[in-house]
């Protein structure tokens, strides 16, 4: 009954010190988020508004996309429509090739991870340089993000420092101070910005009424990415649309408070036209989103704005780390997005949830990731992914509970189990419930009997 998640999690928790650090670090982000939320009397109104605005926008998406693309095109921005990852990657490559670009800087985009764009472009000779510090670190280490907002959170400063030394990014041997390392990266990335022939950003919000592509960062790397090269490509999932500035205000206020517990990101930049002498392209990507829309049980996952609040609060994520999940986005939202992507491939992750629903309570747009995971679990049987042992046990319990006579007899003899030695109830870890658990002692008399004897007050 072990899932891939549980096996990887077992390896993660083997390092107790790192596990505690990971757990405490994310809990402190959760606490910072709470502090931000409590400073605004309208916080719950904001969440409800965000949910309603997203429900409206997603169910009027075609209309808003037309408005958005018309607005962009009216200012000379080229808009592309990509039905899937392959089409997205090809579109980006052809834009780059038509401009003779060999090096592209980019800011963080979960969409490009989803489409596995970097390896595709690299195969075609494009040097893709991540410019968010965390993303750059894991790119140089040939790793994947372990969190959508804090991608390099699983690494210690020594690991980063040693790699920077190897790559010649830092000069002072043995100096692993985060401030020193960040400033080394600043100089390293400055050169990249100045050499690149194109800059790519994601898009946190697209504003239908005005055509603004809004990008939020703390480092200002999306701005450097788009201020130096002449060519700007925006990679945007179609669910990122909001109708207008009025709606945008709601999301801008929620995003960073939910994500990192800051009142705002340092930069909230609005792009809707190429810079002087340059070119701007927006690639709108479906890649399964229209199918999610058709899924009557799970379409509201499209409301997600990728803040990561559900991941930070999740007790399972905090104690198992991002790499324990089999989908590239971990935590509650990742479990859901993986199931929407390919339920047979990613069903392992649905058990990485205690159904505590803490995520439901912090999600700024009320996606209800935990409740959705519960619904996914009900479909495991249909998918042929239900655990066989649990199924057999459920059938057994159903048989027992449907037959009071057998149940009562079984209960009467249950205390006999108290005389079975532990080593027999837990042979070779066959009984998964025996691992880390002591067998409870059966009471001599059942509650039922005590009740009849009038001994229950």
């Amino acid at each position: 009954m072990s899932t891939i998640h549980s096996k990887r999690a077992a390896r993660f928790v083997a390092d107790a010190e790192k596990t505690s650090w990971h757990d405490a670090t994310f809990w402190s982000v959760r606490e910072k988020r709470d502090k931000m939320a409590q400073q605004l009397p309208e916080w719950e109104d904001l969440r409800e508004h965000a949910s309603q605005i997203k429900k409206h926008t997603i169910t009027h998406l075609a209309d808003y996309l037309e408005q958005f693309s018309d607005s962009l095109e009216s200012r000379g921005v080229k808009v592309h429509w990509a039905k899937d990852a392959a089409e997205f990657n090809e579109t980006v490559l052809s834009i780059l090739q038509s401009h003779g670009v060999t090096k592209m800087v980019k800011s963080k985009s979960m969409l490009t991870e989803e489409c596995e764009m970097n390896p595709y472009l690299e195969q075609h000779g494009i040097d893709v340089v991540e410019t968010d510090l965390g993303e750059r670190i894991i790119q140089l280490l040939h790793q994947k993000p372990s969190h959508i907002v804090m991608p390099a959170i699983h690494l210690k400063r020594e690991e980063v420092g040693r790699m920077f030394e190897e790559k010649g990014i830092s000069k002072e041997k043995g100096n692993y101070d985060p401030t020193y390392l960040t400033h080394c990266a600043r100089l390293h990335l400055r050169d990249q910005f100045m050499q690149a022939g194109a800059g790519m950003t994601g898009c946190n919000f697209g504003v239908a009424a005005t055509g603004d592509c809004v990008v939020c960062t703390n480092e200002g790397n999306a701005d450097m990415t788009t201020s130096m090269p002449k060519l700007h490509i925006v990679a945007m999932g179609i669910e990122k649309l909001v109708p207008d500035y009025k709606s945008l205000a709601v999301f801008q206020r929620l995003l960073c408070r939910s994500a990192t517990g800051q009142p705002t990101t340092a930069f909230t930049s609005h792009f809707r036209q190429a810079r002087p002498g340059g070119e701007m392209h927006v690639v709108l990507v479906d890649n399964g989103r229209s199918d999610m829309l058709a899924d009557t049980e799970h379409w509201q996952t499209l409301k997600c704005m990728r803040c990561g609040a559900c991941i930070n609060t999740c007790p399972v994520y905090r104690r198992s780390g991002g790499y324990s999940y089999t989908y590239f986005i971990p935590g509650p939202v990742g479990v859901n997005l993986g199931m929407l992507r390919d339920p047979r491939k990613y069903s392992d992750n649905v058990s990485a949830c205690t159904l505590c629903l803490s995520c439901d309570n912090v999600c700024p747009s009320k996606v209800g990731p935990g409740s959705q995971i519960y619904v996914w679990r009900q479909s495991l049987e249909k998918l042929g992914k239900a655990d066989k042992l649990k199924k057999a046990m459920s059938a057994g319990m159903e048989y027992l509970f449907d037959r009071p006579a057998i149940y009562t007899t079984a209960l009467k003899f249950a205390p006999l189990a108290n005389y079975v030695p532990d080593c027999l109830t837990n042979i070779g870890n066959i009984n998964a419930w025996g691992i880390g658990h002591a067998m409870p002692e059966f009471a001599k008399k059942s509650f039922h009997e005590l009740w009849k004897e009038g001994k229950v007050k």
Partner: protein, 207 residues
């Protein structure tokens, strides 16, 4: 893919439609909006120069704030190289103009950029800066950023801010900046000065 096919699939897959929320959000309002803005600016790592008279010499102010800076960049009318001289260092100072440099790369190595903000937001220290220069790179590439803001343009929250902001039709770009560039990507340790400005000074000019 053709736009029509793309949109048609979305229309076909939409089974029910929801309305926008009926009522608007009542955003937070502060007892002392100005004081809240100053406090938030400092919380996010910015410095504030307060009570600046409308006719004050910005050159002198900037010089005093950054006495070691050598290379300045601005297209604001009041900023002149002449005005920046006369600090405690008499070596040549350079003033770059973001409208006339050939390339954005030419702005690398700028110590201090001086720009105009149009709306300040008390709840989070954001200042709206519409692009009014050919190379917006100066907003990000400079080591330090000075943002001039009239104190009458400070609003309570982002709802009020989004009601007011505008863009210059020539450039159609604007950004909210709240304090210096920062990151916590290495072990969650906060470091000021990631890829953009390492420090931000907000000059609040009286009405």
């Amino acid at each position: 893919m053709k736009k029509e096919d793309f949109l048609n699939k979305l229309r076909q897959n939409t089974h029910f439609q929801y309305d926008m929320p009926k009522e608007e959000i009542k955003g937070i309002e502060y007892e002392d909006t100005f004081e809240q803005f100053v406090r938030m600016t400092e919380t996010v790592g910015g410095h504030v120069i307060n009570d600046v008279r409308k006719d004050a010499d910005l050159n002198e102010l900037v010089r005093r704030a950054y006495p070691d800076a050598k290379v300045f960049c601005s297209n604001l009318k009041g900023i002149t190289l002449e005005g920046l001289k006369g600090g405690n260092d008499s070596t040549a100072l350079e003033l770059r103009n973001p409208d006339t440099v050939a390339e954005a790369n030419d702005l690398n190595g700028t110590d201090v950029a001086i720009v105009q903000g149009t709306v300040g937001v008390a709840e989070n220290g954001c200042i709206w800066i519409p692009q009014t220069m050919k190379e917006k790179a100066l907003l990000f590439i400079s080591e330090y950023l000075v943002i001039v803001l009239n104190r009458k343009n400070i609003v309570n929250n982002m709802h009020d801010a989004y009601d007011r902001i505008g863009m210059d039709d020539r450039y159609n770009f604007g950004t909210f900046i709240s304090g210096p560039s920062k990151t916590a990507d290495i072990e969650q340790a906060l470091v000021i000065g990631a890829q953009a400005a390492r420090g931000v000074t907000v000059v609040l000019v009286d009405e």
